[in-house]
Symmetry: C2
Subunit: 198 residues, 2 copies
């Protein structure tokens, strides 16, 4: 039944739980690993071991790094801009960093408000955000453009003091490289409303 | 530059080398792992460690297992059928086992003849196949239906003695669930040539 013995079968089942891999591609991945034991399997084992030991969540912003506070919170130049970007997830923080948005700081909520899934304000990293916001001149709400993301943005806006901190959100509009024909009506009407002079 | 420190970056780069994962999905997978440290990351580390220690290649047939000879070669019932199926790769052996082809034995070539890539007969597990074939009444050539696979099948046919062993190949035809409209001409003409009485 189990090809290759229980050790291989278990490795396949664990890899299949990664996003982007199913049972079939996990099996291919395990064979790929076994055939490249020296070049890939042993280095992966070592890298996983080091990451398990080193990785921690930043106590300040919720970022994942090997130090806490993370390298972004520890960098004094990051504070000079006075900009704090609020994101749902560490993946969003990394995406903004790849986009090179400049010397800003972040706050990772660790999710969005979702009454249906039982996620309330206490389940998110919100009290610390309200405390941190005072130290910044602008808080950018960079939640996803989903119903839950926008609900969370509303909630945060209601709990921050606009006389202390300017609150902004990401622009809605046509994605760079996007074709109008393929865009939904909501995006198009937002893009037209927010049109800018050339 | 490197989000999350060098340990995380290196883990991403190694995972991105698995088939089916690119740099972007490897990053998602690593975040997924880190967030599920107890439920997924530590078990994966342990499973990888056990697999590295346990996995070996069967000296007899080339299968990957935790014993050598592998559990298929070690099973005496597998020899009774007298059928030896020759495959290119361990993945093909596992696919046939999943299909439940019965009490047969296998021989894994570890590749196909490919002069352009510098793969000659000496690079494959061929001498052992020729030695093993004598002990079986039928050798089924189950190479992929590619040019290299069929070239390899021809080479093997030329080097086996048909008076000692019957040599067969897999049937070509319409895949189960396949639609004629989407099939190539080669498959269709082979399926018509090999038509069977109902």
């Amino acid at each position: 039944m189990a090809n290759g013995g229980p050790e291989i079968e278990q490795l396949i089942q664990l890899l299949a739980r990664l996003p982007g891999l199913g049972p079939r591609s996990a099996r291919r991945a395990v064979l790929h690993l076994i055939k490249r034991k020296e070049q890939l399997m042993l280095p992966l084992l070592a890298a996983l071991d080091r990451a398990v030991a080193a990785v921690r969540t930043c106590e300040n912003c919720g970022n994942i790094d090997t130090t806490s506070p993370c390298h972004i919170c520890a960098d004094p130049r990051r504070g000079d801009s006075g900009i704090l970007i609020v994101v749902e997830d560490v993946a969003d923080l990394w995406a903004l960093e790849r986009a090179g948005v400049g010397q800003v700081r972040y706050h990772v909520l660790g999710g969005v408000l979702s009454p249906l899934d039982g996620v309330g304000p206490d389940d998110l990293n919100l009290p610390k955000l309200i405390a941190r916001a005072r130290d910044y001149s602008e808080v950018v709400l960079a939640m996803n453009a989903t119903v839950e993301g926008q609900t969370t943005a509303h909630y945060i806006t209601d709990h921050l003091d606009p006389s202390e901190t300017k609150i902004t959100r990401l622009a809605h509009g046509v994605p760079v490289g996007g074709e109008l024909d393929y865009l939904d009506e909501g995006t198009l009407s937002q893009a037209l409303k927010a049109r800018t002079t050339i």
